[in-house]
Amino acid sequence: MPDIPMASTADIAFLLILFFMVTTVIRTATGLKVTRPLAESTERIKMRRNLVHLWIDGSGRIQIDDNLVPLNYVAERMTQKRLDNPDIVTILDVEKDLNYGLVDEVMEELKEAGAYKITFATDFLREGG
């Protein structure tokens, strides 16, 4: 009767472990609940290490990574983040029914903080779907 070599199962298993360790990004924060707008030209964001997440929910609350922040402190928080890592990209995860005015004010704060690279979080919109 053929046997499965027990000694090498560990090697295979450790190989899988390495794969999962490398690909795992342990979430540091869970954000506010938002419904993202849909867009056809949505692209994947490849770099993950330089991301700063910013959520604005339907009631206008703002969360940056793991802190709720009032509007006038957004610039200050973002400046700190930028000093830690100058290459940050901010992901704006904004409730789709929100007024544009607040989004604009947040973007002004980001400009003030020097965080110029932003991404509007959207979901894929499929043609005809």
Binding site: A10, T23, I26, E43, I45, N99, Y100, M107, F120
Partner: protein
């Protein structure tokens, strides 16, 4: 005498048969904790906040206005079908390489509408996009 006996015993070994079990346990941990990145969106680079205003010739700007109730206007012409914006911008880009698309949004317009317009402009292949709020009152 018992001490002597101890020195003669076999060296301890790690059981290889259970190595796999331990390893698979760690795998299970990583499988369950892995969150494959779902981050995606529309990239944009904000202009620097400076006192010097970059002057762009009027003929190089295509203004798209979104008013408070979400109507979209390109060059004084109302577009009810947002898909038409794409071809309008494509035409503009074909005529003028250095065209800057300026999206002026009313603060009371819905964010979703701005994203829809931005999406169409991006689909048209515009690289230079500027987001401007429409100032109300003072």
């Amino acid at each position: 005498m018992r001490l002597r006996e101890k020195e003669n015993r076999k060296p301890p070994s790690i059981p290889t048969a259970s190595m796999g079990d331990v390893a698979f346990l760690i795998i299970i941990f990583f499988i369950t904790s892995t969150v494959f990145s779902k981050d995606r969106g529309l990239k944009l680079i904000l202009p620097e906040k400076s006192t010097v205003v970059a002057k762009i010739k009027k003929e190089n700007i295509l203004t798209i206005k979104i008013n408070a109730i979400g109507e979209v206007m390109v060059d004084k012409e109302i577009f009810t079908d947002l898909k038409m914006i794409r071809s309008r911008v494509e035409d503009g880009l074909a005529n003028n390489d250095s065209l800057v698309i300026s999206i002026k949004t009313h603060p009371e317009a819905r964010y979703e509408r701005m994203i829809q317009v931005l999406d169409q402009v991006r689909l048209a292949g515009a690289k230079r996009i500027s987001l401007v709020p429409i100032k109300t009152g003072g």
